[in-house]
């Protein structure tokens, strides 16, 4: 250390000693910078890792660019599709919704069975085999499982499962476990969250599946890639024109493909996170550096003047202080990068485990990300200190030797309105200190309140999810079991279901894919026909009260109406049914409903039946079950050939909480850590600055016989006032930040509710209180070491 010091210039040695002398503050500020850099590095590196992995996966496994489902077309129709100009490669498949049976698991499992070609590799949407092998050509019973389902049930190549395909049980042999670019994100149609135990994708030879699903020589799904320069819209239109007569439900591009769509949304959120949070941290760090460096320069006025007198240039002095700032930044960036990389790796793992499945996830920390963190932090820090450094650099020697003009105090507002009688002299000191520098006091309050706000954001997720689950499952979709029929079925089926032992109540629904259009806007969705006064499945208004569905009109989710179709109640919506006779009708919008998950259009079931020119026909039913009867009902329904799939709410919720547990834990931990860093950074620095500025005063008071407690009151009282003021402000900041998140994360997939409960507020306030107490304690210890004699020997 000493040897190292000797090679440094005298000014650099001063720099190191200054830093050492302020080490507590330096560390506190570096910790705030660390928070910003950590969130930046975490989000950007995870973003980079996910995009790079995704792009590689999509490319290497030939993820399609166009997708279409249809009822059934003979294979030769594919040739017509291939002739469409702009289509590069096109592959047809058979796609079958199935019920699955896994030994030892009684809950209903639904699956999506997809065909793979028997001759040669799949042209598109290749599978990455994690274990085992592909199905053998023309094998009758071999399947490859998606790894999520396999892992959730510990299924390995060689194990046997069964599927109910088209009402017929078929025994299947697992030969491999794979991941597909098409199903990076897997979620059962109509369900709210991924449930790896109860939903999975399976691949089977084209011949075998065709035979089992009555699709020999035909297909009901096609995917394609486009030639370079082709117009997606034109190709989509042509595909629809050809497949319309075959029950095509509308071709859609990759950006609307569900798994890809969800992944893109998540990536967008990471980018938002990479902007908002680092901005807060670095803003606060800039403020703290400003305060600390200004104070340092004020303290070193005379030293600076003397250095100047001895011939140091403006530039040398300015650079000296900039270097000091840069050392703090470097510390923060180094620690932040390490922490961010650790967070990022963890987050990537959590993603891989709970949400997205890639064949591999290479965690990637780009040099560019680190460089960016460094640049952003350094510019924030330098911007924060520019003015003070500039002043120091310009200080003339003569001016510097003169004492600074004394601070002017005034009677405060509180006193001018006649309250001074009630204030003791120490209390007046507190009030005057705060009032003397209103901007600094205000910024301090804002800085501390950021800690509260960040903490609230970090804990927000849990409450929001609870709320969404509550709204979704206890107010809107209150059924215990939702089942879909293999094809539209007469309403009489309800009687049969109601008669099953263990079933308490049954409501039917009809749903049909449809294109909704209004003026230039359109959205491919489905129309849900439900009972107008259903007890199980209800749509909710703005106040989350169930709405009675009006006759012969449609009710839309707020996001769909306001943000996507731009319709308001009273407008006429064009509904193009994408199935069967493909009716087109003008339907009035009669109401707006609130819904956090997905977007839907609701009608009365009978109105929808009418629109479809059909009688009382259902697509499925919602069931309320007697407690304890679940397993028996599942078993009974599993045997019914007309029942295609079942989603059980209670188990879905349970498994959801199990999977998000880790996410919630992750965000809570990150938030607490970082909010703590900000809270402590601001409070501790304010306390140290106050101590530095008021040390002389306080020591004088000690000389006059004030106890340590009494001077602590003056010093910490000021901080306590600022910290207390920061609590309500922080709560507003928290609401604001959550509001920004809610806005930023809004999509048709889901909207987060702006819900903050008492726990959120309490945790935000707690961060402030804890940081204040900790800083108070540290400063209290410093107060014990005040040198009473030293202050008496020196001029101010």
């Amino acid at each position: 250390m000493i040897a190292a010091l000797n090679v440094l210039s005298a000014l650099d040695r001063k720099l190191l000693r200054d830093l050492w002398h302020m080490r507590g503050q330096v560390l506190a500020i570096a910790a705030v910078i660390m928070g910003g850099v950590a969130t930046l590095v975490m989000s950007l590196s995870t973003y980079d890792s996910l995009t790079t992995t995704r792009d590689r996966f999509y490319r290497d496994y030939r993820f399609a660019e166009l997708f279409v489902n249809l009822k059934r077309a003979p294979e030769p129709v594919a040739e017509r599709l291939r002739e469409i100009p702009g289509i590069d490669r096109l592959e047809t498949r058979v796609r079958a919704g199935v019920k699955l049976e896994v030994a030892g698991f009684a809950d209903p499992i639904t699956g999506m069975l997809l065909s793979v070609p028997d001759s040669g590799d799949a042209l598109l949407n290749g599978l990455h085999m994690k274990r085992g092998r592909m199905v053998q050509p023309y094998s009758g019973d071999e399947v490859v499982l998606s790894d999520t389902l396999a892992d959730a049930h510990r299924l390995e190549p060689g194990d046997r499962i069964a599927a109910i395909i088209n009402g017929k049980r078929k025994a299947l042999r697992v030969v491999g476990v794979a991941v597909s670019p098409e199903y990076v994100y897997q979620i059962a149609p109509g369900s709210m969250f991924p449930d790896f135990k109860r939903y999975g994708v399976l691949w089977m030879g084209r011949n075998a599946l065709g035979a089992a699903y009555d699709m020999e020589g035909a297909f009901n799904n096609a995917t394609a890639t486009l030639a370079r320069g082709a117009s997606m819209q034109e190709v989509l239109d042509r595909v629809d024109a050809i497949l319309g007569p075959y029950g095509g439900t509308g071709a859609y591009p990759r950006k609307d493909q569900f798994s890809n769509r969800f992944l893109s949304e998540e990536l967008k959120q990471l980018q938002t996170t990479a902007t908002i949070f680092p901005a807060i941290f670095l803003g606060v760090a800039a403020f703290l550096l400003n305060v600390v460096i200004s104070r340092l320069i004020a303290l070193q006025r005379e030293q600076i003047a003397i250095l100047k007198a001895f011939g140091y240039t403006h530039l040398a002095i300015g650079w000296h202080f900039v270097k000091l700032v840069l050392v703090v930044v470097a510390l923060g960036v180094a620690a932040g990068t390490a922490l961010g990389a650790w967070f990022g790796r963890w987050l990537a793992d959590v993603y891989q485990e709970t949400t997205f499945r890639f064949p591999y996830l290479d965690y990637l920390l780009n040099a560019g990300t680190v460089l960016m963190a460094l640049l952003v932090s350094a510019s924030a820090a330098i911007t924060g200190t520019l003015f003070s450094v500039f002043r120091a650099a310009r200080l003339t020697p003569a001016e510097g030797m003169r004492p600074e003009t004394p601070t002017v105090y005034r009677a405060t507002v509180l006193e001018r309105i006649g309250l001074q009688r009630w204030l003791s002299a120490p209390t007046r000191m507190i009030v005057r200190h705060i009032e003397r520098r209103p901007v600094k006091s205000l910024l301090t309050v804002l800085g501390i309140s950021c800690a509260c706000g960040l903490m609230m954001v970090g804990n927000y997720q849990k409450g929001a999810i609870d709320f969404m689950v509550d709204v979704q499952f206890r107010q809107s979709a209150r059924e215990d079991l939702a089942l879909t029929f293999i094809e539209p079925t007469s309403g009489k089926a309800l009687h049969e279901l109601a008669a099953l032992p263990g079933v308490m109540h049954v409501e039917g629904f009809r749903d049909v894919p449809a294109m909704l259009r209004f003026e230039n806007y359109s959205y491919r969705s489905a129309i849900f026909g439900i009972e107008p006064e259903g007890r199980l499945h209800r749509s909710l208004d703005r106040d989350l009260q169930p709405v009675r569905l009006p006759a012969s009109g449609v009710v839309l989710t707020d996001h769909l109406a306001n943000k996507m179709l731009h319709v308001k109640p009273g407008d006429l919506l064009t509904v193009e049914v994408l199935e069967g006779k493909r009716q087109v009708a003008q339907v009035p919008v009669l109401g707006i409903t609130q819904q956090f998950l997905g977007v839907s259009a609701y009608m009365r079931q009978e109105s929808l039946n009418e629109l479809l020119h059909e009688g009382n026909v259902l697509s499925g039913a919602y069931l309320a079950l007697e407690p304890g009867a679940e397993q028996a009902v599942y078993a009974e329904l599993h045997e019914r050939p007309r029942v295609l799939g079942m989603v059980a709410n209670a188990s879905a919720i349970r498994s959801f909480y199990a999977t998000i547990g880790e996410f919630v834990l992750f965000y809570n931990l990150v938030a607490s850590l970082l909010a703590g860093a900000i809270g402590f950074g601001v409070v501790y620095n304010s306390a140290r600055i106050a101590l530095s500025e008021g040390g002389r005063e306080l020591a004088s008071l000690r000389v006059l016989g004030f106890t340590r407690g009494e001077i602590a009151y003056i010093l910490l009282g000021e901080l306590a006032v600022l910290a207390l003021a920061a609590i309500p402000v922080g709560m507003l900041v928290g609401i604001g930040l959550v509001g920004i998140l809610v806005q930023a994360f809004e999509s048709e997939l889901y909207r987060l509710p702006l819900i903050l409960n008492a726990d959120n507020y309490a945790s935000g306030a707690a961060v402030i209180v804890v940081s204040a107490l900790l800083s108070g304690w540290l400063v209290w210890r410093k107060l014990g070491k005040l040198d009473l004699v030293a202050v008496l020997k020196t001029r101010e």
């Binding site: 004394p406 601070t407 002017v408 105090y409 005034r410 009677a411 003791s424 002299a425 120490p426 007046r428 000191m429 005057r432 200190h433 003397r436 002389r696 005063e697 004088s700 008071l701 000690r702 000389v703 006059l704 016989g705 004030f706 106890t707 340590r708 009494e710 009473l788 004699v789 202050v791 008496l792 020997k793 020196t794 001029r795 101010e796």
Partner: protein, 240 residues
């Protein structure tokens, strides 16, 4: 000697030493001081720079503790007192005046005095104390709005407002010109005369010694002279 016999003994110091340790180097500031101070006396401490005057005054005032030896204030042994006892001692019995005033910039003249009276047993009113130093008109001015001499008089008012038994002044005129210095000394003299406060005054100006009842001279950590001053002169006659 006459005064010493008539008045109560306030401070008694025996064999006081003070050694500052700075790493390996030891700096002896006091090398065995024996001193007695009596109620009502005005004592001037003289001596070259570095002779230990401030060190001695700080030990008497309970701001510092000696390395060896004993100091008694009445029957309190200050050498054995702990940190909080010393605080209480300063609070109840000692008034300090320093070269650089050490006023609280965020408080007005009146409040700078009140800050002490609020924590004392039987203080005078701040206005009274300020009137005693002829500052009755500048009550609501902040230190930055007062001249050096005025600030020093506020410091004196602050020191005497609690009716202390002792007033310890370390170069109270050190930062002032001779004319302003006289005004400050007059204030001290008045307090000493009217309230009978034991006053110890450190100065570099031999001329000021003329206003003392007794002059104590320090050199290199020793007391080299302690003499009564029968030819005591009022402060307004002094100049330097």
């Amino acid at each position: 000697m006459g005064i010493a016999e008539q008045h109560e003994l306030v401070f008694r110091a025996r064999g006081l030493t003070k050694i500052y340790r700075m790493g390996q180097v030891e700096v002896p500031a006091l090398r065995g001081i024996d001193l007695e101070l009596f109620a009502g006396e005005l004592v001037v401490l003289l001596g070259p720079s570095g002779s230990g005057k401030s060190t001695l005054l700080n030990i008497l005032g309970g701001l510092d503790t000696p390395s060896s030896g004993e100091v008694f204030y009445l029957d309190h042994n200050l050498t054995e007192a702990g940190e909080s006892d010393l605080t209480q001692f300063r609070r109840d019995h000692v008034g300090f005046v320093f070269q650089f005033y050490n006023l609280i910039p965020s408080l007005t003249a009146r409040e700078n005095v009140a800050v002490v009276t609020e924590i004392s047993q039987a203080p005078m009113r701040p206005e009274e104390a300020l009137a005693l130093v002829n500052l009755g008109e500048r009550l609501d001015h902040f230190p930055a709005q007062l001249s050096g001499g005025e600030q020093q008089r506020v410091a004196i008012a602050r020191a005497i407002a609690k009716n202390p038994a002792v007033l310890l002044c370390d170069e109270p005129t050190g930062a002032l010109d001779s004319q302003t210095g006289v005004v400050v000394l007059e204030a001290l003299e008045k307090v000493n005369r009217e309230l009978g406060t034991l006053t110890v005054l450190i100065t570099h100006n031999v001329g000021i010694a003329d206003m003392a009842d007794r002059v104590v001279r320090l050199s290199d950590g020793h007391i080299v002279e302690s003499r009564a001053n029968p030819a005591k002169r009022p402060a307004h006659e002094l100049s330097w």
